[in-house]
Symmetry: C2
Amino acid sequence: MSHIFSDVSNRIVRSEIREILKWTRKPGVISFGGGLPDPDLFPLKDITDITKNVLDQKGYLALQYGPTKGEDVMLEALVKHMSEFGDEAALEEVAVTSSSQQGLDLLSLLYLDEGSPVVMELPSYLGAIQAFKRCGADMRGVPLDEDGMDLEMLKKTLTELKEEGKKPRFIYTIPDFQNPSGITMSLEKRKELLQICIEEDIPIVEDSPYRELSFTNEILPSLWMLSGKKGVIMLKTFSKVLFPGMRMGWLVGEPDLIDKMVMLKQSVDLCTPSFNQLILAEFIQMGKMKQTIDNAIRCYRPKSAAMLNALEKYMPDQVSWSKPSGGMFLWVKLPESIDTKEIFMTAIEHNVAYVIGRPFHCDSSGNHTLRLNYSFPSIEQIETGIKQLAETIKKVL
Amino acid sequence: MSHIFSDVSNRIVRSEIREILKWTRKPGVISFGGGLPDPDLFPLKDITDITKNVLDQKGYLALQYGPTKGEDVMLEALVKHMSEFGDEAALEEVAVTSSSQQGLDLLSLLYLDEGSPVVMELPSYLGAIQAFKRCGADMRGVPLDEDGMDLEMLKKTLTELKEEGKKPRFIYTIPDFQNPSGITMSLEKRKELLQICIEEDIPIVEDSPYRELSFTNEILPSLWMLSGKKGVIMLKTFSKVLFPGMRMGWLVGEPDLIDKMVMLKQSVDLCTPSFNQLILAEFIQMGKMKQTIDNAIRCYRPKSAAMLNALEKYMPDQVSWSKPSGGMFLWVKLPESIDTKEIFMTAIEHNVAYVIGRPFHCDSSGNHTLRLNYSFPSIEQIETGIKQLAETIKKVL
């Protein structure tokens, strides 16, 4: 049987990262490769008790079809959760998604045609690049400074696009503890970015999976709030701050945009599991979410410090890295002559794994970069693994 | 802020059905409108116990990210489940989806470009029409006979397409207890359809959500099995046979097609909740699925009989209906002069609701048709509601 596949499916290629991540399973290898939360933080007892309650009291609702926009109790819980981190939203400004990746999917369906220009950070989140690539988007990268997107380069990119007669459908940014870089956008830059977007009439997509995981007491105002809740769509998820296994995310935006994405969601999965929504809604309403996030911060802060210390202690001078104040990742730049994909197997021989940086670049640059995760490994593994990584790099230098 | 939306989002319109279904919530109205399983069948106690077990024994796995293709234990359980209903599949021929609607989404992404021809039954499943429409597919409808798709009309449609220089990307069919019609394709027609598809080199999509719900002891061989597991993709779900609230579906097909759809799934939601997968896998492995389905059949068979009896008893001569031997729906044809949308409010005045037939037709025909659901209402409600519906129809005739 011969198959005629779509243009979409022809754009999808197997991920380079998945191919090499197989090696991280080699016994003895310390992996900084994944993006997994520490499973010791999972509130198993609470979830067990709450599930029993939900099935006892609302079982008929939990196992039935639910509204595409999300269960009312979940929408209310999401609004409550956000308010604890400085973000206000009305119920009509929020919709549940089956993971934040689905948020990216809906966003892509809403905005992107083949060739649609999109501006994003260099580096940026892999899953976003994948979703935009599927739609055939024309992705333009803007480098990151230590305080977020290089706004002079952004202006230059917008001018270039204008000269080509093009306008970005949106600017995609991860302002808090960015994946993969760990970098946070400063308040000044947030304001300036918004100003640029108002002047140029371009919507912003604020991807915000790590926002709650601040190691200092500071959380900067979101673009959503700074914008007066206009022209910004925020993507949220519990995968990083709680656990990924229920695939629960949500969208925040102006009601008419939320409406449109809910209509698109109908064709995508009809609705997100009510079972999972009712459990997490109760978890939030009981005040358990805040508590779990505090635990996560208490767990990840020392891990991050341990990684920074080990890098300081072992890495040769030619290597630099970001200093995240939250989140799960840290970004390393090697001398430009070194291709992190080429030396990956040498690292595996030294029993350490990372994620290569290139796939995080929409322009396929970043050969000499890599991402390290510190949320999953133990502090001991971090110390040993970074030492082994430094040895790898010294060997190839 | 001005937004430039995609062609995709411009194709999506609010569903006519959703707009009128609001009325079914009017107090006193008996609704045959939804497609909901009877919640009294939900095995709440079993799911509570199994969830506790899963979190106790595999909590770290259940709440973590899982493989895009699905958890191994789930894939094994799906293969076991299918084998109990006559369908064989190897593990590499199966992939988990977050609902069968996601299966339709992935299928659309795999095959459909704007203008791609697709052949489907008249009437057919609304969610499929919605997914294909989103991609801008050129949908061609083939009428249903009492024993399934009219194959002479199918041949005619294929000839017409050929004359236009076109070939369908696939033929979409629901052979068992079809939604919305309740009709089952005969064994002879299944064989002939396969023969046509082999000769014309066209893949078949076999949507199979109701297959397990046979009121007789007979389940006909699936197209998947009759084809020798070649050229057929089967879509499955637990939403109808168990409950919809965990949004758990799966795809069955040749390994290279499954691979491609799993790659597409990465950009759609990364993975289906491991939590839900581990719970349902244990449910199946404990033999509980078969037991729940037997209960569902024992519940729906008399409801279906009650509806058929009431139709026989109350409906005027000009009205005809299908006689389903399984599933959840029954299809009614009124005289062509009557538009079921126009008389809908009269039905509401008579305290009864149905789903209008037109949205189930990819060619917007079927004004005089309607769908009745018998799984959700009680036998008493069925008797009373059909009487009220007959009164409505007599009034407008």
